[in-house]
């Protein structure tokens, strides 16, 4: 059998039964699925938005580390929020996880709806630092 050129990761914060993995590593580039702020201990979305955003980033931290990466390896972030009025708070929480330059490239748009009534979904592209 030829050596596989890609890896599919199913992390400890995988949404069970969902037809997607949490990240794919191919040619040195990691693509994560969109993560929402599901709290796997409390089994719910956090009540306030800041906690939800924090949980999104923590969940992605689990996905990144599970695949041998970490936040500083992230090169591109795509954020979907449910309401543009949450943008400033999103930025504030985001900086807790990306406190300094170089910041990844990032786009944030407000969408019509997110799964399970989430207010934020984030996907990332990462390339391991040398």
């Amino acid at each position: 059998m030829p050596e596989p050129d890609r890896q599919f990761f199913v992390s400890p914060v995988h949404a069970k039964g969902m037809p997607f993995c949490d990240a794919v590593l191919v040619n040195g580039t990691l693509y994560t699925s969109g993560s929402i702020g599901w709290d796997y201990d409390a089994k719910r979305l956090p009540e306030n938005f800041a906690d939800e955003a924090r949980q999104v980033m923590k969940n992605l931290g689990v996905v990144l580390r599970h695949s041998g990466h970490d936040y500083p390896d992230v090169v591109k972030v795509m954020a979907f929020i449910s309401d543009m009025s949450l943008f400033e708070e999103w930025n504030r929480v985001y900086r807790e996880f990306f406190p300094q330059e170089p910041f990844p490239a990032r786009s944030t748009v407000a969408v019509a709806g997110l799964a399970l009534g989430a207010r934020l979904e984030v996907e990332m592209i990462a390339v391991k630092r040398e």
Binding site: E88, Y94, F103, A110
Partner: protein
């Protein structure tokens, strides 16, 4: 370019081709804008979404102007990284109203006259600072001429 520098460049080339990264910033990141205009990693450039606000930060009077500003903005980011529109491989466009789709395509075609890259356009509920269009791109430096598009099945 003098010879020692050329040799040095060639020696460092293999390292550049791996995961070396560089932030491209025409606008300095801030608390309200915690992002880089683009990240160059290896030979791939990931550009942040670009809005089409004017120099004063206002939304232009017409959609066309706004679209043109967004694309000119990305042109500047590409240029700062040593790239140009010919290096762009994938574009994602977010508009707040698809009634502007025809206008968007008209302006976009001025920037990608031949062999336009892969592209998706979707309508979203809202964009930052009341924008009507946002454009993000992925570009890969090739340094080689384009191949003609392959048509048919």
């Amino acid at each position: 370019m003098n010879k020692p520098f050329l040799v040095l460049s060639l020696l460092t080339l293999p390292f550049l081709a791996t995961a070396q990264r560089k932030a491209i910033n025409l606008q300095q990141p801030s608390a309200a804008r915690p992002l880089s205009d683009a990240i160059l990693v290896g030979d791939t450039l990931y550009l942040s979404g670009k809005l089409g606000h004017d120099a004063k930060g206002d939304v232009p009077a017409t959609f066309e102007e706004e679209a043109r500003n967004a694309l000119e903005g990305q042109r500047a980011v590409l240029k700062a990284a040593g790239f140009d529109f010919a290096d762009v491989v994938k574009v994602t466009v977010f508009v707040t109203d698809l009634k502007n789709f025809a206008d968007w395509n008209k302006v976009y075609s001025e920037f990608f006259k031949v062999d336009p890259p892969a592209r998706s356009t979707v309508q979203v509920a809202a964009l930052v600072r009341g924008g009507h269009v946002e454009v993000e791109m992925i570009a890969v430096k090739s340094g080689k001429p384009h191949m003609a598009p392959v048509s048919g099945k």
